[in-house]
């Protein structure tokens, strides 16, 4: 009796969970039926990849995919390098004004990106940086990176750095061969977090990109919504393409993904 009840509860929870992913399954199903209604087709013989073909061949999505990939790759590189440097500097060096600078930076976490958008638009335009991959990489390089990397670098024992110095390692070698390997775990977390944030980013590219060739994937799908708002199959194909790369990463590295994304909220 107890066991039967337990199984009934398990089935109920499984059912609720299935309902949670139903919209995503619906998205994938709709993307493979070329229809202008929101009715989902259960006739699987009708399914085809026509929408994907159209998106890639005639709607230039190869270009948008590569734009997003380039922005994500660059953002990861910049964020990890600058973040690791800053983390090391704040956690392991002593210099005048260190604490004031650190807390000053942490304080900027309160400033939402939506509020600085207007002056940033003016500054970026004045510098001629709109419609560049570079400007799309920058917003993720922020106080959260400093916080995450500093917290993790604090656990590096001073004796380890001292030992490296005694063995004749200079600053650069110590940083690359001693500090970076020890901070590996935080670097992986920062990489995953940067990937998800930049890949899914929407408002910043919406404001900074006007050239059609420079669209990222999220912008491209928003464009589908504007230009092909009644072709649900086509929109869902675009939406699926935005969803799939993070999803593949998640399936491969589930535990790390959950950790990296969850800790982003548990900041100072």
């Amino acid at each position: 009796m107890r066991k039967a009840l337990k199984i009934a509860w398990m089935l109920l929870l499984t059912g609720i969970t299935a309902l949670m992913v139903l919209p995503l399954i619906y998205m994938a199903m709709m993307s493979m039926t070329s229809n202008f209604t929101t009715t989902v087709s259960w006739d699987f013989s009708e399914y085809s990849f026509t929408n994907y073909e159209r998106i890639f061949v005639s709607l230039d999505f190869v270009r948008y995919f590569l734009n997003s990939a380039a922005v994500v790759a660059g953002a990861i590189l910049i964020n990890v390098i600058l973040g690791a440097m800053a983390g090391y500097g704040f956690a392991k060096k002593k210099f005048p004004g260190r604490n004031a600078l650190y807390y000053g930076i942490i304080l900027t976490m309160m400033i939402p990106g939506q509020v600085t958008l207007i002056p940033m638009y003016i500054i970026v335009s004045a510098m001629g940086l709109n419609n560049t991959h570079f400007i799309l990489m920058l917003p993720v390089v922020n106080a959260f990176t400093v916080f995450l990397m500093t917290q993790s670098m604090m656990s590096i024992p001073d004796d380890l750095l001292e030992a490296a110095r005694i063995d004749g390692a200079n600053e650069r070698i110590t940083f690359i061969n001693v500090v970076l390997p020890v901070a590996r775990s935080a670097i992986v977390s920062l990489t995953i977090f940067t990937f998800i944030t930049v890949w899914n980013d929407f408002l910043w590219p919406l404001v900074m990109v006007s050239d059609n060739h420079m669209r990222t994937m999220t912008l491209a799908v928003a464009m589908l919504r504007t230009n092909y708002g009644t072709n649900y199959g086509l929109m869902m194909a675009g939406a699926t393409l935005v969803f799939v790369p993070p999803f593949i990463g998640y399936v491969l590295l589930q535990k790390r993904f959950v950790e990296s994304i969850a800790m982003s909220g548990i900041k100072a």
Binding site: K6, T17, M20, V21, P23, L24, Y26, M30, T37, T38, V40, M85, A86, Y88, G89, F90, A91, K93, K94, F95, R98, Y102, I105, T108, M110, I111, P112, Q114, V115, T116, L117, I118, P119, I122, I123, L138, V141, N142, T150, Q151, D158, E162, E171, N200, F202, L203, T218, V221, R225, Y232, M235, M236, V242, F243, P246, F247, Y250, F257, A262, I266
Partner: protein
């Protein structure tokens, strides 16, 4: 040797300089420029002219801003409690099962909407909730009349539903980790006393999760005030202004009407709200003790 470690090392500046520069240029400088713009009639083309408190006086009488603030407030007041309670119930329910592959799979699956972009979430649900979308088809099978989820009366609530759907897994994971930290012995002695599921939840779990609940409520509130992507792709703020959020109003004022001075004043209202919420958060978190360098 020991003293040597504490010696001042100016190479520290070299390490922190690049990211300090980025933060300075991307957050600190713009926040002051924004403040300056908010006292001008800047339109993005002509040089800004100082207009004193005009923009702020206009804020008070602006019906669109007022509507969007009310929308954002309703959106916050609905999503935050709903997602917090559901996340807690789900996490607690999951914690009562044996922690094996099945439990892990369920948690993993519940987290999937979190990694989807909010823009995509809006696109999916616009079709999903549409007149012939899957929800209405299912309701039709049960011979329940179709619901117009995205009309002027229901659109805001629909945006709340989609938001809860997207955030639930995130908050569930935070709660779940906190529940696992509660000593098992507490539940065991409750079992001995013959406590029910509900009693254990109310008298053991909820009080011990106060810190997590606080975090989840603050985070949910900040996210709600920053809402844009999801609502934008779900309804574009309509019908009418029924789902226009504060950020959407700021976006429209600045990048549709090019009223950058006035939009900066609107943005400052948002900034003040978010800083106040964050301030409460730091105050309370500091009381419970937190690390520092």
């Amino acid at each position: 040797m020991r003293r040597n470690k504490r010696k001042t090392d100016l190479t520290g500046y070299v390490y922190i300089a690049p990211i300090c520069l980025v933060v300075l240029l991307m957050s600190v400088v713009p926040i002051f420029i924004s403040l300056y713009y908010s006292f001008t009639n800047f339109d993005g083309v002509r040089a800004p002219v100082f207009t004193g408190w005009d923009n702020y006086a206009k804020l008070i009488r602006d019906p669109v801003l007022r509507a969007s603030m009310i929308n954002t407030l309703i959106y916050t007041v609905v999503t935050v409690p709903v997602q917090t309670v559901l996340a807690l119930l789900l996490a607690f329910w999951l914690s009562t099962f044996r922690q094996g592959r099945w439990s892990q799979f369920i948690r993993g699956t519940l987290f999937v909407p979190v990694i989807a972009s909010s823009m995509v979430a809006g696109i999916i649900w616009r079709a999903f909730m549409g007149p012939t979308g899957l929800i209405n088809e299912a309701l039709g099978l049960l011979s329940i009349p179709a619901v117009t989820f995205l009309d002027i009366n229901h659109a805001l609530m629909s945006a709340c539903i989609v938001t809860v759907w997207r955030n639930l897994g995130y908050f569930m994971v935070i709660y779940f980790a906190a529940i696992l930290d509660i000593p098992k012995s507490l539940y065991e002695s409750a079992d001995v006393e013959g406590c029910s599921f509900g009693q254990k939840l109310v008298y053991i779990t909820i009080p011990l999760l106060r810190a997590s609940t606080f975090l989840i409520v603050i985070l949910g509130t900040i996210w709600s005030f920053q809402a844009f992507d999801l609502v934008f792709s779900l309804t574009q703020g309509g019908p009418g202004f029924s789902t226009t959020t504060m950020v959407m109003t700021i976006y429209n004022t600045s990048f549709k009407q090019f009223n950058l001075g006035y939009a900066s004043a609107q943005a400052y209202v948002l900034l003040i709200i978010i800083v106040l919420i964050s301030f409460v958060q730091t105050k309370v978190l500091n009381r419970s003790g937190d690390g520092s360098i």
